[in-house]
């Protein structure tokens, strides 16, 4: 019996061990223990090592190669962004090494929970933008639908007193439907008059922002009594999203289950886009509307579905913030989750599962930036520059294909 056969015989046990390792790693990591990441990494290494021993080595190698190739461009973009950020810091008189050390330590180790807290709403808005993108639409006004969702959550959360298993799904659903409804008008205008959704959703975003201040004043925002004048009354504690601290006593007290909902939603959206009829129609319209039309797919209907699902997802981000983290709605606070959702979606090239990772990266940059600002006296808006430059890797991807085409052309010429 060779080592390979023994391994094959006990492969079930190895896989159970792997799942345990990865699962405990994820739980540890989510509940703000950095060691969890090492567990996950270990599980990945074991998984590939196992396959390497059992299967054909060439297949495994090519698999690793293709993943590495996919990661190459984002990683190159991040490296370029980090270098540009360093240059900016040197020019403006800071030490980039200590600043970046603080950024990384704050974002991925010390304040990891803040990164996750930041990531949860970004996943929702990122999914929203990505979903619309798949249909060839640009939901640039995700910020507005976010406000609508947050207002619905605050309004319902203050008065809706029932068992949380009933109230929380109902609030998510109601807020989501309101978000969809908010995107109904841009969709209608797009289909009926051809008004570009970039302009209409953007205008609706501004309208929602101003509407939220009116809303807050009517739901508790009283400048004379409260210490923070533009805040609604708090949401009933029974409507709060489950916090990890209730299950794992060592977890950070602010971390809530919104991140889990966000990740599950991402996988659901991935399923919706890749394996259902509606998803296929949306992708067909997005990639070639004329061809989709000749296939009998109604473009108008698809535009409606895409924009309304996008509105639903953005509104969920608002619910997530109000029920999970803030427990009230703050006014005049430029949250920027809508705008960052665009970045996150572009960065993941509109892949729903990719959005999870880019959101976490963005969240970690924000959390790390705050930590850096506190400890290093570098203002955290340097993070905005790093983000903008990382985003430039969207362009860098095109740069890569551009150069690739140029090279290919040269090669064919030489032949």
């Amino acid at each position: 019996m060779t080592a390979r056969e023994i391994l094959y015989k006990y492969r079930v046990i190895v896989f159970i061990l792997l799942f345990l390792l990865a699962g405990s790693g994820i739980i540890l990591y989510i509940t703000s223990y950095f060691a969890g990441l090492l567990f996950i990494l270990l599980a990945i290494i074991i998984y590939y090592g196992f396959h390497f021993l059992l299967k054909d080595k060439r297949i495994v190698l090519s698999e690793i190669k293709s993943i590495a190739k996919k990661m190459l461009i984002p990683l190159a973009g991040i490296t370029i962004a980090v270098l540009i950020g360093a240059v900016v810091m040197i020019i403006t008189g800071y030490n980039p090494l200590t600043a970046y050390g603080a950024l990384f330590y704050g974002g991925f180790v010390k304040n990891w929970h803040v990164s996750l807290l930041n990531a949860a709403p970004l996943i929702f808005t990122g999914l929203s933008v990505a979903f619309a993108f798949k249909a060839g639409l640009f939901n640039i006004g995700a910020e507005g639908q976010y406000y609508i969702g947050a207002m619905a959550a605050a309004g319902l959360g203050i008065y809706f007193d029932w068992h949380p298993l009933v109230t929380i799904p109902v609030i998510f659903l109601a807020a989501g439907l309101l978000g969809s409804l908010y995107n109904f008008f841009p969709a209608l205008l797009k289909v009926k008059t051809g008004a570009h959704e970039v302009i209409t959703t953007m205008m609706f975003a501004h309208i929602a922002r101003y509407f939220s201040s009116i809303f807050i004043r009517n739901f508790g925002g009283d400048p004379s009594t409260s210490s923070h004048p533009y805040v609604t009354d708090p949401v009933l504690p029974s409507n709060w999203l489950l916090r990890f601290k209730d299950m794992f006593p060592w977890a950070n007290y602010r971390l809530h289950s919104g991140i889990i909902i966000a990740i599950l939603t991402a996988f659901f959206v991935h399923y919706l886009l890749s394996y259902t009829r509606i998803g296929f129609e949306i992708r067909a319209v997005g990639s070639n509307p004329a061809a989709a039309k000749t296939q009998g797919i109604s473009t108008g209907k698809t535009v409606f579905i895409a924009l309304m699902v996008a509105g639903f997802l953005s509104a969920m981000a608002g619910v997530n913030q109000v029920l999970g983290l803030d427990h009230k709605l703050y006014g005049n606070l430029s949250t920027g989750y809508g705008w960052n959702g665009i970045s996150v979606a572009l960065l993941a090239s509109n892949h729903p599962v990719g959005v999870i990772f880019t959101s976490i990266l963005w969240g970690a940059l924000d959390a790390g930036g705050q930590y850096m600002a506190r400890t290093q006296e570098v203002h955290n808006s340097i993070v905005e520059i790093i983000k903008g430059t990382v985003l430039f890797l969207v362009v860098a991807r095109y740069l890569y294909t551009y150069w690739g085409q140029k090279r290919k052309k040269k090669e064919t010429c030489n032949e």
Binding site: F138, I140, T193, I199, I207, I214, L391
Partner: protein, 318 residues
């Protein structure tokens, strides 16, 4: 009700002209840009860059004219990024514009802190362009039209001149013809030996210059400070003005007047306190007007055929 009608006076028209200026400037830029076939939603960001640069240089030198010049140049330089991304790299126009808007917001916020030490707003500039308001002799004596059009501030006059200039440019010059052609049928342009890429670069830079000027208007003429994100969606309103103005400079100006009126009117309504409504409802007014306008109040013309489409010179390998 009588109070309501007293709102409609010369002063309202005067501020309509004044407040429509940044939208006009950006919309004229958008007209040139879209006529050449490039969609530019980065104007929001370009205006922010212009507004910041104007305040920064006006604050350092104490001379608002230098600020104005710097704003225009900065807008032009920043628009090069959009041109490079969309024309040379064939990136989607809307994506590139959105990325540049985000980048511009981050950049101006960072520079604001570096230059003035605190987030939110800058220090006021020592001399703003508002102090250069002057009445044109003779013309300002005409009743109604005189005080409305000819008793304004410098950038407003510049916007008048630019509308005339760009109308002539589009329809009376060879380059203008090339601009229009590269938006309608770029391949034909390339066939007769005119570089579509070069024309499109020119058009994007023009929109950058005018957006920079619009930004300067917001920061050193209409007020005297830079505020984070002070453009408030005007870049997008300008796009709407360009579309409802039928892709022409004069049409853009007329549509911008409508948006300028919406803004002037909401300020008036806020100040007059005729209706006991939250002030935010009035602030929303220009945005609602924009939605109505793009939804098709004016639908007399069609967009340039190749607008938003990528143009790639296919060089045959053999």
């Amino acid at each position: 009700m009588n109070d309501f009608f007293t709102l409609f006076n010369v002063e309202l028209l005067h501020s309509t002209i004044r407040l429509s200026t940044p939208i006009t400037l950006a919309a004229v830029g958008a007209t040139i840009c879209e006529r050449a076939g490039i969609v530019n939603i980065a104007m929001e960001g370009l205006m922010l860059i212009g507004a910041f640069t104007a305040v920064f240089f006006a604050y350092i030198t104490g001379n608002p004219w230098i600020g104005l010049l710097a704003a225009v140049i900065a807008g032009g330089i920043f628009s090069l990024l959009h041109a490079y991304a969309t024309i040379t790299l064939h990136l989607d126009h809307v994506v590139s514009g959105a990325v540049l808007n985000i980048l511009a917001l981050g950049l101006t916020n960072y520079l604001l802190i570096l230059a003035f030490g605190h987030p939110g707003t800058s220090e006021p500039v020592p001399v703003s362009l508002a102090e250069y308001q002057f009445a044109v002799p003779f013309l300002s004596q005409i009743p109604v039209i005189g005080p409305v059009f000819f008793n304004q501030r410098p950038i407003v006059y510049m916007s008048f001149l630019l509308i005339i200039f760009f109308t002539l440019f589009l329809y009376r010059t060879k380059t203008g013809l090339h601009v229009r052609a590269s938006g309608e049928h770029p391949l034909a342009m390339e066939t007769i030996g005119v570089s579509v890429y070069r024309i499109r670069y020119l058009a994007v830079i023009i929109s950058g210059l005018t957006s920079g000027l619009a930004g300067a208007f917001l920061s050193i003429e209409n007020s005297n400070v830079f505020t984070s994100g002070m453009t408030g969606g005007r870049g997008f309103i300008a796009l709407a003005a360009n579309i409802s103005g039928g892709w022409s400079a004069v049409g853009s100006f007329l549509a911008s007047l409508f948006f300028g009126f919406a803004e002037a009117f909401q300020y008036k309504m806020q100040a007059a306190r005729l209706l006991d409504l939250p002030s935010e409802l009035f602030v929303m007014f220009p945005y609602i007007a924009t939605v109505i306008a793009v939804a098709g109040l004016v639908r007399k013309s069609r967009p340039p055929k190749a607008v938003g489409l990528d143009f790639r010179i296919e060089k045959q390998a053999d």
